[in-house]
């Protein structure tokens, strides 16, 4: 009797779990493991795979393209993270008021977030067009001569950073807005009774209580920005002169253009290790910095 009931229960579990679990095994877990094995091989998909052992790792460490792509990815992160977080926070504070029309402002900030990256990247490629784009025209109206942006190795990455900041401000804003709205009004009322200025209220109430949110936003944005790809692929393809080549773009080029499946897997594991390190640091620091909420 108990055995039969156990079996029936087991069958129900299988029925509910299996579709998702089986799919996950085939389309995620197996590829993850295969990717690990592939790092030991070189395979162009035409000839049989060739075992190279640590060859791909040695190649990675000696690969100038890899270190350049890592450098460009970090350059992107260093430009993007502070800008998007500061501006996102500023917009969240500005929009955290019950005034007429504020809903509309929030919504418009969000349009770029839901738009496809490819469309946004094409739009900004057009805006940054040095001869006919509106941006350099606006700059010329105030007497500045705009650079060649995506055609200039020094200006291509800043242009990509600006585009990414524009697209993601709404995303950061929404998270900070939720954090701001979670702060109880009583704190501000008490501070007002003590005669605290707006600035002091911001420094002593808002900022500390936004800590957890800010930390969360930072971690998510970091992990996402290690994987920067769509905008780079569409706007510059890694150029000019390789100035914007980033990690995922290098993976795609190796898998696609050079048919180096093993080396592409090696690169993607390098990316994973970076993301993993960020996640670990996040876990650690979260315990120390963020007060219990």
């Amino acid at each position: 009797m108990a055995g039969e009931r156990g079996l029936r229960k087991f069958l129900w579990v299988i029925l509910f779990l299996l579709p998702n679990l089986a799919g996950l095994l085939v389309f995620s877990i197996a590829p993850i493991l295969a990717s690990l094995v592939l790092t030991l091989f070189e395979w162009d998909l035409l000839t049989p795979p060739e075992f190279v052992g640590a060859g791909n790792l040695q190649r990675l460490l000696a690969d100038r393209d890899f270190w350049a792509a890592l450098g460009h990815t970090l350059y992107f992160i260093v430009g993007y993270i502070p800008l998007v977080m500061l501006l996102g926070l500023a917009v969240a504070i500005a929009l955290n008021r019950r005034v007429r029309g504020v809903i509309v402002f929030r919504a418009t900030t969000f349009f770029p977030v839901v738009s496809a990256w490819v469309a946004v990247a094409l739009l900004w490629k057009w805006i940054f067009n040095p001869r006919f784009g509106p941006l350099n025209y606006l700059l010329s109206m105030i007497g500045l001569e705009g650079p060649a942006w995506l055609f200039d190795p020094h200006w291509a990455m800043p242009a990509i950073v600006l585009t990414s900041v524009w697209k993601d401000i709404g995303f950061v804003m929404i998270m900070f807005l939720a954090g701001l709205q979670a702060i109880p009004d009583e704190y501000y009322e008490a501070a007002a009774l003590d005669g605290a200025s707006d600035w002091r209220k911001f420094i002593h109430i808002t900022l500390p209580l936004l800590g957890p949110t800010g930390f969360f936003v930072l971690a998510i944005s970091l992990i996402n920005s290690f994987q920067v790809f769509d905008q780079v692929w569409v706007m510059t393809g890694g150029g000019p002169a390789g100035a914007t080549s980033v990690l995922v773009e290098l993976i795609v080029k190796n898998a696609f253009s050079y048919s180096r499946m093993g080396y592409a897997s090696m690169l993607s594991w390098a990316l994973f290790i970076l993301v993993f390190l960020v996640t670990m640091v996040q876990f650690r620091l979260q315990k120390r910095w963020v007060p219990d909420v």
Binding site: W12, V114, S115, S268
Partner: protein, 295 residues
């Protein structure tokens, strides 16, 4: 932050001081609205420029100074795009792929979540931890072997190749499980007393109660699939099988300086998502705040 300045002025204010305070308040309010409007302009002008370019005739695209309001206003680029480029087909591909991905995620994620939230079975914690662990691995790690697997199945340039890898979501399962755990069990227990099966309880009781979570998962699954670029770029070669983002990139490669055509394609790609967003704002906001999920 939202407290008006009147409070801080406080005390026994004389009429003169009162007036200065009022003027100051007015200036503050003007400055505040100025900042709001400036922000809104920065956020919307580029998108309006997209629309404006798409409505220009060829000879007015590359002009200096640029025209912000196209004269004449023409829809030639949309007509030409439909004629010269399989954009209608790509639109249907995107719609089909995103809809099936969304429905598949809703069904398989909520079923697995039901098992995790409502059935105690041996190893359930272990399997669930395993689910959480897969969330940490970026999609790029799987992409090369996944591509090889799809080639092996002969699924390059097919809908199953486009759709299946996106359906089985550890994240969706996680999201739904958390929501199921917050639903009280009394109704279910009563149903079990009446002899209902797990399937009946799942389909008739738990799912209807989980509508908010289903809505959130639905909009994000749809958006991610609609906007996806990397995987479709790998799996699709033939224009007839492309989704809009890959099609757009191809379009740009073919007509490099025809920005009116490229922007028309971009408008066609962006507008449906903006409409979905306006209709389902709440779900977007909740999804992001809960999980930091992004498109």
């Amino acid at each position: 932050m939202s407290r008006p300045d009147r409070a801080s002025a406080g005390g026994v204010a004389k009429a003169g001081r009162d007036r200065t305070a009022r003027v100051r308040g007015l200036i503050h309010r003007l400055a505040y609205y100025g900042i709001l409007v400036a922000t809104a302009l920065v956020m919307t002008l580029p998108l309006l420029w997209m629309v404006s370019t798409s409505l220009k005739a060829d000879q007015h695209v590359l002009t200096m100074p640029p025209q912000f309001f196209p004269r004449p206003l023409v829809i030639d680029s949309y007509a030409r795009l439909l004629e010269l480029f399989p954009i209608a087909r790509m639109f249907c591909n995107s719609l089909f792929v995103a809809t099936v991905t969304m429905l598949g995620q809703l069904l398989t994620s909520s079923m697995a979540a039901y098992a995790f939230a409502r059935m105690r079975f041996r190893g359930s914690n272990g399997v669930f931890l395993f689910y959480l662990a897969t969330l940490m691995i970026p999609f790029q790690v799987t992409i090369t072997p996944l591509f090889i697997l799809m080639r092996f199945f002969g699924w390059i340039d097919t809908y199953q190749g486009l759709i299946l890898p996106g359906i089985f979501s550890a994240f969706g399962t996680f999201l739904m499980r958390q929501y199921f755990l917050s639903i009280p069990r009394e109704l279910e227990e009563a149903a079990f007393m009446d002899g209902a099966s797990h399937w009946t309880v799942y389909w008739r009781i738990v799912l209807p109660l989980a509508r908010p979570a289903l809505g959130t998962l639905a909009v994000f699954a749809f958006m991610q699939s609609w906007n996806a670029f990397l995987w479709p770029l790998f799996i699709v070669r033939h224009p007839e099988m492309m989704t809009l983002p890959v099609g757009l990139a191809t379009l740009h490669g073919r007509w490099l300086t025809q920005w009116n055509l490229v922007m028309a394609g971009s408008v066609i790609t962006v507008i449906p998502m903006i409409v979905v967003f306006i209709l389902a704002q709440r779900h977007f906001v909740r999804g992001i705040v809960l999980s930091g999920l992004k498109g």
